[in-house]
Amino acid sequence: MNTAIVPSESTLRKRPTQPQRGRALEVMPSERYDDKIFTSAAAGTIADIFHANSEMVTTFAVKGILTEITPLLDADPDVKKDDWFDWTWVRAMYQDKIWAMTQKGNTTVTYYNKDLFDQAGVAYPAGKWTQEEFVETAHKLTDPEEDQFGTWTYNWHLAVWANQGDIISPDGQKCLLAEPAAYDAIQWVADLALKENVAPKAEQSEVFGSLNPFASGKVATYIGGEDVLGGFIESIDSFEWGAAMIPTGKETVGEGTSTMFPMSKSTKVLDSAWEFLKFLSGDIRAYEAMAKHGKLGIPPLKKAYDELFLGTEPRPDVKEVLAEMALYNRVWMLNVTAGAEAKTTVDQGLSLVWTGELSAKDACEELCPKLDEVLANQPR
């Protein structure tokens, strides 16, 4: 049986049927999607191709559940790796082999509320701006009496990378948070709320729950990706807003994530499955369908990027910034096969930093041995 499984919000379910017969598409509710994938993988009944996040791809690759894509790509005369951006392959790789085709990418930018900038008489951020300028701007835009914040919870991964530190070594074997470059950056993020008072403290940010705080109009700058763009376009009509680059530290960085489709090792229709994968990731018609439903993301395929993303409506100005930031993308958990456990260890270890109960240095020195143990025991 030739099947593909996708979560319910996927564009695939809305897409016109791909021009080949005998293909079944199974749509799962998003909230139970991972359960479905993992249980069907455990039962040996997983679909030929399926939607997966990058952690899932690494986990499945190490378990021997996926077909390696590299030889298929190399042997296929219809496609060249150069048709896609280099970043396409980064998250799809494990141990220098490609395990999935990327359908869309993401990055991070600084969304800003133009009305709040205008009211405070502050110039909009443009081009590369520094972290110092960012903090100075956030101060000018913070108004405690109005419950207005200059910025929101800052992405600490970005801060670490911008300070030329790292979280886990590129080979996925060692925690690097106990290095000064890493914990100084984390402290800088915590201090935005604790000392600078330009971002909400943990308990203040809780109030918004799952609502996006930027849409409330009470947050002047907000670090987010392409995934929130559609929501902002749809829901924000009470103020003007724009996007700028992520503030630069010692270097400029964005954080990249990808939506991917791997192929099951148990597929009995390798050729058809490969054709379908090529369609999803390498055919302009797939991207047209995604664009039609506002789910384009940042296309990994250069042709789709040129024709459907850059310079197109809506909000070509924001897309231009997204496109530029994507060039600076970094990823974390690279080559980590115990992603969930590593993430829990890091989240728990840093949790007291955000409340000021522990310094970033102490927290990182305490958590790194624990993370090293998780990394040492991860499946290989």
Partner: protein, 307 residues
């Protein structure tokens, strides 16, 4: 003839009883099937899994008692989660028992509108635990929450960070557990209403006051109910999951990392099913031991005589 007739009657009776027996088994069969396939089977399978390294996807590898050795000798999170769960149980169970009993005593009064009050106290227990968790996240919010607002307005003190604080997160969840005190309250209430009136009348005739009635009649007569709530409280408190999963994710810094959350993470997020099975069976023996201890101890304080 006589023998043959009697024989036929006996045979008929046997067939009838036999048929009724078969009928009974047939009625029970769906449940038995479900129990064997979906409960007993997986339970037995998990006993075996506890001695394997199994990740869902690759064949199980025999590791002997290594999972249990690691768990007791090396695993800090096992001890941390056990500590958190034990503290929660030791504090919350007595609180729930006493508070539930006190409220039941109040709800046992013959006053107008008492049914409304009973309903009000019981309603929180039928709310979904997910909704309750989100509600309490608001109530416990340090800046905008009801509790800190009341602390400041009434006592003039600034409340703690509750769920964000390593010291206060677990107490916060214990306080929240009292929200479900309506459950034991209803059981207490039924017990209170089942105490024969003539016992109190006899106490009146003997000149006993309200304290004597409570101490020498109400408490002994309610002791089986208290015992039931105690046993259920122990079993339930060692399986707390939803509140920590939704509200704190076990944090901050593992301060609310309950045993069940660790079991869930290990089995279904980290795919270490063998180790998760070992964790599950250790929990099973902890709960079973505590329940047995409760039953043994109950002989000293639970009144089971007839009146």
């Amino acid at each position: 003839m006589v023998q043959r007739t009697t024989g036929r009657r006996v045979s008929f009776a046997l067939n009838f009883h036999r048929w009724r027996e078969i009928e009974g088994w047939l009625f029970a069969a769906p449940w038995l099937f479900g129990f064997l396939v979906f409960t007993a089977g997986p339970m037995l399978y998990s006993v075996a899994l506890g001695f394997f390294d199994y990740d869902f996807f690759t064949p199980p590898k025999w590791v002997g008692v290594a999972n249990y050795v690691n768990l007791f000798a090396k695993d800090e999170l096992f001890w941390q989660s056990l500590k958190v769960t034990t503290i929660y149980s030791v504090v919350s169970i007595p609180l729930r028992l006493v508070l539930g009993f006190l409220i039941a005593l109040l709800m046992n009064q013959d006053v107008p509108g008492i049914y409304v009050f009973r309903s009000l106290f019981y309603v929180p227990t039928i709310l979904p635990s997910v909704a309750t968790s989100f509600l309490w996240m608001w109530i416990l919010n340090p800046q905008y929450g009801l509790i800190n607002y009341a602390l400041e307005a009434i006592l003039g003190i600034q409340g703690p960070g509750w769920l964000a604080s390593e010291a206060w997160a677990l107490p916060a969840l214990i306080i929240m557990s009292l929200w479900g005190v309506g459950g034991p309250m209803v059981i207490y209430l039924a017990g209170l209403q089942g105490i024969p009136r003539h016992l109190y009348e006899a106490c009146d005739l003997d000149g006993g006051n309200a304290v004597a009635k409570f101490w020498f009649i109400t408490i002994p007569m309610m002791s089986p109910i208290i015992f039931f709530n105690l046993v259920m409280g122990v079993i339930n408190s060692f399986q707390v999951f939803t509140s920590s999963y939704l509200m704190t994710q076990g944090g901050p810094n593992y301060a609310t990392y309950f045993y069940m959350l660790y079991l869930y993470d290990t089995s279904f997020r980290y795919f270490r099913m063998g180790y998760g099975s070992a964790l599950a069976w250790v929990l099973f023996f902890i709960i079973m031991s505590l329940t047995l201890l409760n039953f043994i101890g109950s002989k000293r304080w639970v009144y089971t005589g007839n009146l």
